[in-house]
């Protein structure tokens, strides 16, 4: 059970994400953005939060062109798991592994606070540890989390049960209060809130831990 956490210049949640994967039992490697291949046997790729390339041009735009992202796209095409958090979600949208885009928060301010989320589907390896409709508390910390997609994409996300999380009281103006979405095969999740920041009581919450545990369960039984 192997996780690979990507590291871009400007990533700052990479170590937290590795701690969360390791707490769930993953053998976890850090992978530099200039590497062209993932470690042998990687089951899940974590694309961490932060400010890759200083958010130059657009958040995630330069990281999306890095050599490692070609390997991540190939991994996803083979049915591999990918978890993109915050800047990682922006990177996944810029690489078109997930639809839509993340724009400047409607209130223009950086929001950094504990946020209530509603789990919208338990039908994925990421969310199987929750109940659909369950409310959880997960921190948000972003300036560009305002999810935007065209009406056809939003309709498809709803019809295919691919909205993983919605905000309970939107912090950023995201369309349809969307906080996290799944790929069509349900193996790529992008979300703005930070589940890796609530995996230990010492962090002030543990509502993120079921995500990492259920991923581990899915990979053990696979």
């Amino acid at each position: 059970m192997r996780a690979a956490v990507l590291v871009f210049p400007g990533s700052n949640c990479d170590r937290d994400l590795a701690v969360a994967f390791r707490a769930a039992g993953f053998d976890t490697a850090m992978v530099w953005h200039k590497d062209a291949a993932l470690p042998e046997g990687t089951d899940i790729v974590g694309v961490p939060g932060g400010f890759s390339y200083g958010d130059y041009l657009r958040c995630g735009a330069i990281a999306a062109q890095s050599p490692i992202m070609r390997a991540v796209a190939a991994h996803a095409e083979r049915g591999g798991y990918v978890l993109g958090i915050c800047n990682g979600f922006q990177v996944l949208c810029e690489t078109r592994l997930l639809p839509g885009a993340l724009m400047r928060n409607a209130g223009l301010k950086f929001v950094c606070k504990m946020q209530a989320l509603r789990v919208e589907t338990a039908d994925s390896a990421f969310t199987a540890g929750y109940r659909a409709g369950q409310e959880i508390a997960v921190p948000v910390a972003h300036h560009d989390g305002n999810y935007v997609a065209d009406p056809e994409t939003l309709a498809a996300l709803r019809a295919e049960d691919r909205v993983a999380f919605r905000y309970v009281g939107s912090p950023n103006g995201a369309m349809d209060d969307i906080a996290g979405i799944l790929s069509p095969n349900r193996r790529v999740l992008g979300m703005m809130p930070h589940p890796e920041r609530v995996v230990d009581a010492a962090q002030g919450g543990t509502d993120g831990m079921p995500m990492f545990r259920s991923l581990a369960d899915a990979l053990v039984s696979a």
């Binding site: 041009l57 657009r58 735009a61 062109q65 949208c93 810029e94 639809p99 839509g100 885009a101 724009m103 400047r104 928060n105 409607a106 209130g107 223009l108 305002n146 935007v148 997609a149 065209d150 103006g173």
Partner: protein, 76 residues
């Protein structure tokens, strides 16, 4: 040769920064400002012979996110 690429949010996409600039201009007393859209200008220095089609490819692949942005290319 030079190319100038102008990237703007598509019409219909809310531009929170443009809205903030508009309200700041009004606060300054410029009551006639009815709308502001903020974008970016990217100037490219290009080797002779670079085609407009190549600049368009640059826009599609990197310079603009066509999910939310439109772009305009001017050569020269």
């Amino acid at each position: 040769m030079k190319a100038t690429v102008t990237v703007m949010l598509k019409q219909g996409v809310l531009d929170p920064q443009g809205e903030a600039v508009k309200s700041a201009l009004r606060t300054l007393g410029f009551a006639g400002v009815e709308g502001v859209r903020q974008g970016k200008v990217i100037e490219l220095d290009l080797a002779a012979g670079t085609t407009e089609a190549e600049v368009t490819a640059m826009c599609e692949k990197l310079l603009a996110n066509t999910v939310i942005e439109s772009y305009r290319v001017e050569i020269g």
